[in-house]
């Protein structure tokens, strides 16, 4: 027998017990009963009707006014019942959405996947961790025929799914860029036109584009409003900001991006990051740049990937393991 067949008897029993002597036991039974009736999708209006039927059988001499009042209660519960049923169906939809986002997030990881290039005399490491399921950060490496390596790091202003969709577009524009136009300024100018034409005007993208030439050990770079990177001087142990000026992508389709260059000596390192690194927040506010530099200094003697992983671990700990923004850190270190 199903619950629907026995619920009238069950309910009547509880009601009778309570009317005879007002025990906590009976109240506990009714709590259990309500859990069960929710499980079997009994609506609030059905409960009122069940109550009315039960009380009429248990106490046939109840005043008419009391019974009539239950009609009003039943009518009032109708809207609660509808709201409850809508809630149930929205919950199912929510569960489906969460599953879909999970699939999309996995897809994004595959889609945006990039191989860290291996070239002699240069050690490269990278880490990128999304704050939510979908990342608005993006980094990309391209190895060129002449041995040079392009690196790009971008951050969408905005998070979640819209940012992720936008990232996919950037990725494909970069993939379809001709082999002969990989100077950082060129890359940004092309992407800027793509973004300006295709992206909602309220969405902006910052990007840092670099090219490492192992032939002359020079790093060429341009920035579209992106977080400045750091340059580590291996000889003096000093850190300085890798400053570059340039407009955010998508603001002005005629924007030009100036190219900077830097000679890289053995032991020097280039550190590129998203604002999730520099704007890492603790309960006392943003971390100081000195704190960040301190961590990098602590691990700079390690391999590039180890530096990235260890700095991330430190900052993750500092933020009580709650990332507020997508985090991306790239280390390029000249070893020989």
């Amino acid at each position: 027998m199903s619950f629907r067949d026995t619920m009238l008897d069950e309910y009547k029993e509880i009601l009778k017990t309570y009317i005879n002597d007002q025990t906590e036991q009976a109240l506990y039974m009714s709590q259990k009963f309500s859990r069960k009736s929710i499980e079997y999708k009994i609506s609030p209006e059905e409960m009122i009707s069940l109550h009315k039927t039960s009380i009429m059988e248990l106490a046939p001499d109840l005043p008419e006014s009391l019974l009539l009042s239950l009609d009003i209660l039943l009518e009032v519960m109708m809207s609660y019942g509808l709201a409850y049923r809508e809630h149930q169906s929205l919950r199912t939809i929510q569960r489906e959405l969460i599953n879909e986002i999970e699939v999309a997030a996995n897809m994004q990881q595959t889609l945006l996947g990039t191989q860290i290039p291996h070239i002699s005399s240069v050690d490269i490491g990278a880490i990128s961790v999304p704050a939510k399921q979908m990342s608005g950060d993006y980094y990309h490496f391209v190895s060129h025929e002449n041995g040079a390596v392009s690196v790009a790091i971008a951050d969408i202003i905005g998070k979640g799914i819209p940012a992720a969709l936008c990232m996919s577009m950037i990725k494909y524009s970069m993939d379809s860029m001709p082999e002969n136009s990989h100077t950082p300024g060129d890359v940004l100018e092309r992407l800027n036109r793509v973004v300006e034409q295709n992206v909602d005007p309220t969405m902006f993208i910052t990007m840092f584009s670099g090219l490492y030439n192992p032939g002359n050990h020079t790093f060429y770079y341009s920035s579209a409003g992106h977080e400045p990177g750091f340059y580590y001087n291996g000889e003096t142990g000093a850190f300085e900001e890798l400053k570059a000026k340039g407009l955010l992508l998508g603001v002005d389709k005629k924007a030009k991006y100036r190219e900077y260059e830097r000679k890289v000596e053995v032991g020097d390192a280039i550190l590129l990051m998203s604002d999730g690194v520099t704007e890492c927040r603790t309960k006392d506010g943003f971390i100081e740049i000195d704190t960040l530099v301190g961590y990098i200094e602590k691990y700079i003697h390690l391999g590039a990937q180890d530096i990235a992983d260890k700095v991330y671990k430190e900052l993750e700990f500092l933020q009580d393991f709650q990332l507020r923004d997508d985090f991306t850190l790239i280390i390029i270190k000249r070893t020989a």
Partner: protein, 132 residues
């Protein structure tokens, strides 16, 4: 087959439509819970006419199919129509802000539900409740 209609012009006509629906539901032998469901569905439909179409009509029909007995609520108006039917049938979308109300609510309260609407011409909603 008997049918009868109520013109919906002002808010009080909603009450008249409910009353007509309740009488028919009682006659057919629907229990109090189903009576409340049927009248709530009529209320929603009549209210939609009153709020969005200005005027229209609610018709109640007794129906039979084999051994089954039931009733149909027909809501008809010559109002502006509904441009996006999928949207109004979506949970959580309600222009009047009522939780769970609106057309998805009517669909849940009844056993069968169909809607036709042409922008500029009006809307026809038919919904059936069977006696169990």
């Amino acid at each position: 087959m008997m049918d009868s209609s109520v013109k919906i012009i002002n808010e009080w006509d909603i009450v008249a439509a409910r009353q007509l629906g309740r009488n028919v539901a009682k006659e057919l032998g629907f229990g109090t819970v189903d009576q409340a469901r049927i009248t709530t569905a009529i209320s929603e439909l009549a209210r939609n006419i009153y709020l969005y179409a200005g005027q229209g009509e609610i018709t109640i029909e007794k129906i039979e199919s084999g051994t089954k007995k039931g009733m149909t609520i027909i809501s008809r108006d010559a109002g502006p129509g509904i441009p996006d039917l999928r949207k109004v049938m979506e949970d959580g979308f309600s222009t009047s802000g009522g939780l769970g109300a609106g057309l998805p609510g009517v669909k849940r309260l009844m056993d069968e539900f169909s809607i036709e609407s042409t922008p500029g011409e009006g809307t026809l909603i038919q919904s059936v409740k069977w006696l169990k």
